[in-house]
Every structure is written in structure tokens, then in C-alpha cells.
């Protein structure tokens, strides 16, 4: 994978992105352990392998921009700056979690950071994204929303209604497919009429591009351009990030649909590994600095787990809170 001069960034920005990716991965590993210990319930969908997509996309956002995603949402939560302890507390269903323990792994959100969730019905957050974009347009705000989705989500009706409306109304939205090659155990070509998902945007005359989702800098650049397109009143932009998830769809996936060799092949392009190499080779950061980040992350992840484990469960009264808006 080639990195070229065009990615002009301050060293501190590089290290921030690098740290986020390492932190996401470490937290995911911790979550898997906690799941195995029975401390996390329900479904748990890990982001390992896809870190560059979310981190690169969020890095391109301006302060007024927004983001929404599906249930594979831990990486986005960390990328937008949610405290790792608060995220971990939500996975453990604690009162200190971002959704007060009522959402769980699939329903992380931090509206104050413009992160609108975490949505567990495949494709259902696409119309919500269109609507959020509509609210920006209606208020003449210069905000754009990035709507992340899986490749599988491009086969559901929501996808088509949302893309169509976004084009007809020129909504400020960036549709961002994380093509990780599978929807659960079904490979793209077994589920989608076109395997180059980008082509689906052509049907709605939405400008589009494919981007290397294992390369955080390429992601940042592509999303940055897409955001500016959408911000200028030109309507939506569509990106297809090519990526891969190393772990099963969720915990307890028997993985009968792929061979270990395939995972190994993608791991050669590991988003963290190649970024590390890039930073070292181009003398952007010394090995010692990168190692220091690893230990920082280790401590942060440990602290997050500790905070989550020590946090209280929601009170029994919380059961009745927020069914309706009071007042």
C-alpha cells in the first residue's frame, strides 16, 4: 500500500489517529474477553480490521458535522471521542453507560458529539440520516451527516428509498458503505446483484468512489472530499470503503463461510500495521513514540474496564424513565 506526499498532516494529528485505531482494537479485544466471561450480554459485533474506516471518516469531519452508523458501532464511538469507560460501561449495561445501560453494544450514541447511534435494524438508520440531513437543510446549517452502513444494508429497501430521496432533495449526506465482504455469512456476490457496490449509487446519479478502507489516510481524504461536495449544496456523495472484519460477524459465529487463509491475506494489509510502518518509515514518529502509545492505550483500556465493572447497575426506577419525554 502506497502513501504519498499528498497527505499533509501535523505529527500530532497522525499520532491521534494512530492512537484511536490502537485503542479501538484493544478495547474490542477486551470486550471479547468480557463477553466470554459473561459480563457482556446480547450481541457483540467487533470492529477489528475495520478501524481505519471509522477513524479516517471521523477525522475528516468538521465540528458542525454529524455521524450515524449501524450496530457495529464501538469504533465510531471512540473515534468521535466518547470516553472509553463510558463506552465500556454501556457494553456492561451500567448506569454510567452512554445510553444509561438501556441500549447495549448495538446502541451507543453521544448526541453531544453529534454521534446519533448505533442502530440494530439493518438499513433503518438510512432514512434517519436522510431526516437529520433534512433538518440541517431546513435550518440552513452547513452541517453534513456521514451515514455508515454495511454492504449487506445496500440490499434492503431502506437503502433505495433513502438514496433516491437524498438525491431528489439534495440532502447533505455522505453515504458510506463499509464493504467488509460479508453480511453475516453471506458473501456479497451471493446477496447483491452488483458486487461493486459503488455502482448502486449510479442508478441515482449520486457521485461516488471506491476507497481503500484499510488505509486511514486515504479514508480521511476521500471522506473530506465527499463532505465538501455535500456541504456545497450539491447533494449526497457515496463512498464504498473496501475493508474486512477479522473476527466473526458477532461473538459465536461458527465461520463456516470463509477459510482462515482469507483472513491472513487481509491481515497483511492490516490498517494499524501499515500505518505504523508508514509513520516509522517516513520518520513521522519514532518507534519509541509508537510503543509509548501502545502502553498508554493499554492503561486506558484497563481503566475503562475497571470503570465499567465498578459502575453501578441502573436503578430499578430507570426501567420507567424515558419511555416518554416528560414536561
Amino acid at each position: 500500500m502506497l502513501f504519498v506526499e499528498k497527505y499533509k498532516m501535523e505529527k500530532a494529528d497522525h499520532l491521534k489517529l494512530y492512537k484511536q485505531m490502537v485503542l479501538i482494537r484493544r478495547l474490542e479485544e477486551k470486550s471479547a474477553e468480557l463477553y466470554q466471561q459473561g459480563k457482556i450480554g446480547g450481541f457483540l459485533h467487533l470492529y477489528i480490521g475495520q478501524e481505519a474506516v471509522g477513524v479516517g471518516a471521523v477525522a475528516a469531519m468538521k465540528p458542525q458535522d454529524h455521524i450515524i452508523t449501524a450496530y457495529r458501532d464501538h469504533g465510531i464511538a471512540i473515534a468521535v471521542g466518547m470516553d472509553a469507560g463510558v463506552m465500556m460501561a454501556e457494553l456492561l449495561g451500567k448506569q454510567t453507560g452512554c445510553s444509561k445501560g438501556k441500549g447495549g453494544s448495538m446502541h451507543l450514541a453521544d448526541v453531544s458529539k453529534h454521534f446519533w447511534g448505533g442502530h440494530a435494524i439493518v438499513g433503518a438508520h438510512l432514512p434517519l440520516a436522510a431526516g437529520l440531513a433534512l433538518s440541517f437543510q431546513y435550518n440552513h446549517a452547513d452541517s453534513v451527516i456521514i451515514c455508515m452502513m454495511g454492504d449487506g444494508a445496500t440490499n434492503i429497501g431502506y437503502f433505495h428509498e433513502s438514496l433516491n430521496l437524498s438525491k431528489v432533495w439534495k440532502l447533505p449526506v455522505v453515504w458510506m458503505v463499509e464493504n467488509n465482504q460479508y453480511g453475516m455469512g453471506t458473501a456479497i456476490e451471493r446477496a447483491s446483484a452488483v458486487s461493486e457496490i459503488r455502482q448502486k449509487a449510479e442508478g441515482y446519479q449520486i457521485p461516488n468512489a471506491r476507497v481503500d478502507g484499510m488505509n486511514v489516510l486515504a479514508m480521511k481524504e476521500a471522506v473530506g472530499k465527499a463532505l465538501e461536495h455535500a456541504r456545497c449544496g450539491e447533494g449526497p456523495y457515496f463512498l464504498e470503503a473496501i475493508t474486512y472484519r477479522y473476527r466473526g460477524h458477532s461473538m459465536g459465529d461458527p465461520e463456516r463461510y470463509r477459510k482462515p487463509d482469507e483472513i491472513k491475506k487481509w491481515q497483511e494489509d492490516d490498517p494499524i500495521g501499515q500505518y505504523n510502518e508508514h509513520l516509522a518509515k517516513n520518520k513521522i514518529a519514532a518507534d519509541s513514540e509508537l510503543d509509548a502509545i501502545e502502553s498508554e492505550v493499554e492503561a486506558e483500556a484497563d481503566a475503562a474496564v475497571k470503570f465499567a465493572e465498578e459502575s453501578p447497575n441502573p436503578s430499578p426506577e430507570a426501567l420507567w424513565e424515558h419511555v416518554y419525554v416528560s414536561g
Binding site: K102, H107, I121, A124, P127, A130, G131, S162
Partner: protein, 323 residues
């Protein structure tokens, strides 16, 4: 007091609230240039313009969904679903999203959306276009499901809906649009989730709502001519469901008939009867009766269709079985 039709009342509520609150906009199929399939929004497009009166593609999932999303983003959208039968296409948006986002994210998101949809049978539109599926939506905590039966309530409840922050499904009855009634002059609201005694009586409690209020009132006046004084209670809102006036009335009359346009199974009658049995068992003088639609997909033929829908005669018969 001025007399208005149910259509005019709804139209006025929207118009006045839009004039008062720039956050409110309308979206839906044929609501703009066409003026609304039921003419509720006639004149709105010319007055408020295309920014605030948005014609949409035929895409109920994204009509409901984008309205919900815009509400999350701080606007106050009113989405019109052409008829409630098409809301099934948007079911996931309404019950899985509008109803749940506030709770599921620990109070971080609010969804102040109003989804308007006319429903009901009796217009020879065949089985897919004639349904009264109100209870299905009322099953879900987190939603308000409103179904006014008079012009006064329609206007006041819609105004109230547009001044609060919960998601509302506002079910209008397509055969009530021409119905006339007194509507207070000037600005007023009707509280949401409050039943109302529409006719006082002492012999039997009739519990109903929406179009069936009309049928029940007709039945009550015929019964009065025979010396039976029915108390008619209009639920107006299925969720929240306010049964206090029902219990109070039942403790006086000791008899009840519940009248709904939808099918009887798992319906409003089932719910109201069960709760009345639980709350008022000691006051029971007769089995609680239910009047509802015959359990078939509603047919096209006029006579067949009419024979399947509840009528005043059915209400009278049920009342006579319990008094």
C-alpha cells in the same frame, strides 16, 4: 361557536401552528401541489411554499423515517401517510424507531414527529385500503396514538401534539372529513391522553372513539327515546389510554358496551373490557359486550362491506342485551 368540518378543523390546526412555529413543516405524498389526497392541505403549498410543504416520492419508509430523523435533528415535521394502510410499509420506522429512540439511548434523543394518517372503512376501497388497525400501533409503549372523533377534538389534539415532544400517530377517519361540529373560536388545545364523557347517562356505559363515536351517539339518542340513558365515553387517545372516566362511569351504570371499528380479536374492546373486569369486578351486573367489525378482509361490494361494519343498530342490540 363556529361550526367547522373535521377536515377544516385539522387544516386550521396545521395552518395556525405553522404560522406560529417556523420549525414545523409538512411532508408526504401529494400534500403540496395536489393539495392533499383528502384536501386537508389545500392552499398550504401556495402560502407556505415548497420548503415547508414537501411533496415526497411514494416511499413510506423514508417519509416516516426522514420525518423521524428531522425531528431528532430539532425540526417539527408532520408526515402525512396517504392512508394508514400504507403505514404498514413504514411500520418499522414507527414502532421500532419513533417509539424507541428516546428510551433506548437513555433520553439523549427526542422525536417530536407527528405522523398523520386517515384510516377506516366504508368507502368501497377493498380490503387493503379500508382498515382500522389503530390497536396495532397502540400496542407499542413510547408512541402516542390519537384518534379524534369530532372537529373540536381533532383541532385541539393536533395543536397539542405539535406543542409537545413525543412521537404521535394521529389517526383521522376518512369518512369523518365532512362531519360538522362546534369548534371554539381562537387558540385552544385538548389535552392528550384524556378520555371524555361525550354524553352523560346512568343506565349503561358505551366506550368508543373516532368514527364509532358518531355511531354510538346515534345509538344513544335512539335508546333515550326508549328510556335507556347511555353514557358515552370517547377515548380519543388509545395510547396513553385513560380509563378512569370509564371506571367511574361503570361504577354507576354497572354495564358496558365497547364499540370499535376494527376487528374484535385483541382489540380496543378486549383491552378495555379486561381492565374494567380487573378494576370494577364488584360492580359488574352483566357481561361486558363488544361491538366490532366482522372478522373478514373488508369486501368491495357496498352491501357486503356495510354488513361487516358496526352500525347504530348493532350498538343498540348490544346495549339491550346488558340492561
Amino acid at each position: 361557536m363556529p361550526q367547522l368540518t373535521y377536515r377544516e378543523a385539522i387544516s386550521q390546526a396545521l395552518w395556525e401552528e405553522m404560522e406560529a412555529n417556523p420549525k414545523i413543516f409538512l411532508m408526504g405524498e401529494e400534500i403540496g401541489m395536489w393539495g392533499g389526497t383528502y384536501a386537508v392541505t389545500r392552499g398550504f403549498y401556495d402560502h407556505f411554499g415548497p420548503e415547508r410543504v414537501k411533496d415526497t416520492p411514494i416511499a413510506e419508509m423514508v417519509i416516516a423515517g426522514a420525518a423521524i430523523g428531522a425531528a431528532m435533528g430539532g425540526a417539527r415535521p408532520v408526515a402525512e401517510i396517504m392512508t394508514i394502510n400504507f403505514a404498514f410499509v413504514a411500520f418499522d420506522m414507527i414502532v421500532n424507531h419513533a417509539a424507541k429512540l428516546h428510551y433506548m439511548f437513555g433520553g439523549q434523543m427526542k422525536v417530536p414527529v407527528v405522523i398523520r394518517a386517515p384510516g377506516g372503512g366504508g368507502r368501497q376501497l377493498g380490503a387493503t385500503h379500508s382498515q382500522t388497525p389503530d390497536v396495532i400501533f397502540a400496542h407499542f409503549p413510547g408512541l402516542y396514538v390519537l384518534a379524534p372523533g369530532t372537529p373540536r377534538d381533532a383541532k385541539g389534539m393536533l395543536k397539542a401534539a405539535l406543542r409537545q415532544d413525543n412521537p404521535v400517530l394521529f389517526i383521522e377517519h376518512a369518512t369523518l372529513y365532512q362531519a360538522r361540529g362546534e369548534v371554539p373560536a381562537g387558540d385552544y388545545t385538548v389535552p392528550l391522553g384524556k378520555s371524555e364523557v361525550k354524553r352523560p347517562g346512568k343506565d349503561v356505559t358505551i366506550v368508543t372513539y373516532s368514527k364509532m363515536l358518531q355511531i354510538s351517539m346515534e345509538a344513544a339518542s335512539q335508546l333515550a327515546a326508549e328510556g335507556i340513558e347511555a353514557e358515552v365515553i370517547d377515548l380519543r387517545s388509545l395510547r396513553p389510554l385513560d380509563l378512569d372516566p370509564v371506571f367511574e362511569s361503570f361504577k354507576k351504570t354497572n354495564r358496558a358496551v365497547i364499540v370499535e371499528e376494527g376487528w374484535k380479536s385483541f382489540g380496543v374492546g378486549a383491552e378495555v373490557a379486561a381492565r374494567t373486569y380487573e378494576e370494577c369486578f364488584d360492580y359488574l351486573d352483566a357481561p361486558i359486550k363488544r361491538v366490532a367489525q366482522i372478522e373478514v378482509p373488508l369486501p368491495y361490494n357496498r352491501e357486503l362491506e356495510q354488513s361487516a361494519l358496526p352500525k347504530a343498530a348493532d350498538v343498540i342490540r348490544a346495549v339491550k342485551e346488558v340492561v
